[in-house]
Amino acid sequence: MRGMADPAPPPVTDLATVFPDLERIRRRALAGDLGGAVDDIALVGDRRSPDQGVAWDVLARSEGLDEVVAARLAEDPHDHAARTLAAHRLLLATEEAVGQPGSELTADRFAEVHERLRRAEQVLLRLCAEDPGDPQPWVLRLWSAALLGLPAGEVRRRHARLAALEPGHTEGRRLLVRALAPPPGGSWDASLAAAREASSAAPAGGVEATVLAAAHLARWRLEGSGRERGYLKDAGVLTELEDVADRFRALPCPSHFAWVRPHTELAVLFGVAGRPDRARAHFRALGDLVDGPTWSAAGHHSDALATLRASALAEGAGR
């Protein structure tokens, strides 16, 4: 039996403070060179790489970006990078406004959120038309489809357009799985089927395999409001999670920073499911880092998970 671990320092959620590549992209953008920052994202991996998705996310979450984007758009309302980031910011703001799964919105808040999404959609529709070869607006349209609750046929169409540009786009797969889930308006059968398809096609060591873990995490959060453990204790679910985790850890992950989110997801899932050994292995792989949104989604289990994390880190690092 393990003793009480010493408290660990709070986890680092801003990846730009750890990874110089991400820090450079952010610095360049905040200095006003949005086009240069987007060019740098292109260099962090190929276009389907999950690392690019992380780089876009880190950049879009940068404090002060709104002012830079607004200034750039005032100079050139047609600037492609600025409009892409403006749409990204609108979706991020919507995500924050919508809050946790199952939380209620007032009618006014709902109208405000939808108005914001409609604005983002207008920007993205035009970006896709102007540059049909750029996958990022299509990634954002998949996200937007999930937030709007568009029907599965439209979600699949958007994913097919992205896949035609970049087959096997990791972030696109994740967003497809999310957009097919209920909510917004799909079904867990469809969502999990898409996740299993993506996971089974993924190479060992690749983050692509963990799309299924993300789907189970989403279902647990929604069905159990982040409290009940029951869903994650189901033998079938646990077996799938263990299989995903084993394949993810079978070989060194080729991604530079995209491994943070799946390790965090698996740490949370195994921690809540009562598999502390497995959870600790993922915490050790994470070291100081966790994925912020996933970590904050642990809800009522966050104290227990923090303790688990502390004990894992006390045992020593080793990704």
């Binding site: 409609r118 959609e121 529709l125 896709c128 029907p151 357009r161």
Partner: protein, 504 residues
């Protein structure tokens, strides 16, 4: 030298395109169609047309054409003698319709209604224009049974005259022996086409269909034709991965406007993604970069336009334009105008299409694409006595001196007597009122707490010329209180369902 001569034949204005290949075709185009009728007598022009076609032995080859709502055409091709014989017979039948065949013609119209090829998308005209003018194209011919010999005869002599016709002839000369005497009359203005839609672009849903239809109005001209071609290309690109198909048609609407119609068809599995594909295709034409493929599309358009002026289809279209007051360019001018179309002009046409777009979708909605939902309820109610639904419930029928309102939790539907398009009047007491904006209210004594006195008050207030009288329905066809419609369920079922309800 123009290849088409404006002349007069048998006292009628005529367009003659000489040809020396021995071929002969000719036709008569009248500026009258279903849009000139009112809902209560909808179908009378079509009925006269069928009587004339039947007399000329052409009824079997007649097909319903959705855009024939402002013109009626007759044509023949073959030897000059045959052509003259057909047109002479048609004019004879228009002067003196063979009313002894009225019932057969009525049957033919009913059969056409049952087989309408545009059944899935027929609501669009009504959604845009209501239950008058161009909007009537959506409706079944509800007054068909009441069109008697007198009315048909009067309509024929008023609607098919020497003042609203153009003869076109493709041949060495006008066929010998033409006798095209027609009554005197007037050239009527085009029906008022003020839309009832408060704003566009807009969408409405027709559940149970697997199609998406976008319609919109753009300025007529070569840019509209090129827009149609580029949109077709963009749609092919958008739909290729799914296996769905789409067709784009650009048709004359009036002298200044063309109606663009995009019809995308998929399977139930694909239908929810069809609307997005259509929206993206239009966005590509509005904002995307044009390329070599687009240039090829323009070249193809030029090729198609480079037809001899004596081409019968072209000549007939020219005759329509003559009636609409639009000059028609020569062959060389047509091709040159297409060649000179600029990207800016196509984009302007695409913007016009977007701004006026009305999109029918299988499942709601298209707000995400910046379109508004077509209003599902009226903006106001009439004042009057309230008649709740029998057996209790929240739905109430209000009957006042101005009109009727159906009020339910879902909203209001109002038809004012002064805005009545038609009222179907059943001998059993049922009254179905259709407003000019397309909304309808069914007043049913078996559904609401009202009696013969209230029904009589409605009958007194309604213009008798707008009433379609129908026999009593059998007891098993009378609606029950549980069938009280929710006010906001307007859509196709609420607005066009009269025919099915009546015939069961």
């Amino acid at each position: 030298m123009t290849a088409v001569h404006e002349t007069r034949v048998c006292g009628l204005p005529a367009l003659h395109a000489p040809r020396d290949d021995g071929g002969c075709a000719a036709g008569l185009v009248f500026r009258v169609g279903g849009a000139d009728e009112n809902l209560a007598v909808r179908g009378v022009t079509h009925l006269v047309e069928h009587l004339a076609l039947r007399a000329a032995g052409l009824e079997a080859v007649h097909r319903y054409r959705a855009l024939d709502d402002v013109v009626t055409s007759f044509s023949a091709e073959g030897s000059p003698e045959h052509v003259a014989d057909v047109l002479n017979t048609v004019c004879g039948a228009l002067r003196r319709p063979p009313l002894e065949h009225l019932e057969e013609a009525r049957d033919a119209l009913r059969a056409e209604e049952e087989a309408r090829p545009d059944a899935q998308v027929r609501a669009a005209a009504m959604m845009r224009w209501g239950a008058t003018g161009r909007g009537l194209a959506s409706y079944p011919e509800i007054g068909l049974d009441g069109l008697d010999e007198d009315l048909v005869g009067i309509w024929a002599s008023a609607a098919f005259t020497q003042a609203n016709v153009v003869l076109w002839v493709s041949g060495r000369e006008a066929p010998y022996g033409l006798d095209l005497a027609l009554p005197q009359g007037d050239l009527p203005p085009l029906p008022d086409t003020a839309p009832v839609l408060p704003r566009t672009p807009a969408w409405f849903a027709v559940p149970g269909t697997d199609v998406v239809q976008l319609t919109g109005l753009v300025p007529r001209g070569p840019a509209a034709d090129v827009l149609g071609r580029l949109l077709q290309r963009a749609l092919a690109h958008e739909l290729a991965p799914s296996g769905a198909t789409a067709q784009v048609r650009v048709e004359a609407h009036d002298a200044r406007s063309a109606l663009v119609r995009v019809l995308a068809t998929g399977t139930p599995h694909l239908r929810d993604g069809l609307a997005g594909a259509v929206v993206d295709a239009l966005a590509r034409v509005r904002w995307g970069r044009l390329g070599a493929g687009d240039r090829e599309a323009v070249t193809l358009a030029e090729h198609d336009a480079d037809r001899p002026d004596h081409d019968p289809a072209l000549l007939e279209a020219r005759a329509v334009d003559h009636l609409l007051g639009r000059p028609t360019p020569s062959r060389a001018e047509r091709v040159a105008a297409l060649h000179a179309v600029s990207a800016d002009a196509v984009r302007a046409a695409a913007e016009a299409l977007h701004d006026s777009a009305l999109v029918q979708v299988p499942t709601p909605g298209l707000d995400w694409a910046g379109l508004s939902a077509v209003p599902a309820s009226s903006s106001s109610a009439v004042e009057g006595r309230e008649h709740p639904v029998r057996g209790g419930g929240r739905t109430t029928l209000v009957i006042g001196v101005e009109g009727v309102t159906l009020r339910s939790a879902a909203g209001l539907v109002t038809v004012r007597y002064r805005d009545l398009a038609a009222m179907e009047s059943f001998a059993d007491g049922g009254r179905w009122l259709v407003g000019r904006d397309g909304f309808r209210v069914h007043v049913e004594p078996t559904v609401y707490e009202l009696g013969p006195d209230e029904v009589a008050r409605i009958d007194e207030a309604v213009d008798a010329a707008r009433v379609v009288r129908l026999p009593a329905r059998t007891a098993d066809r009378l609606p029950r209180p549980a069938e009280a419609p929710a006010a906001a369920r307007r859509g196709l079922a609420g607005r066009l369902a009269g025919r099915r309800g009546r015939r069961g």
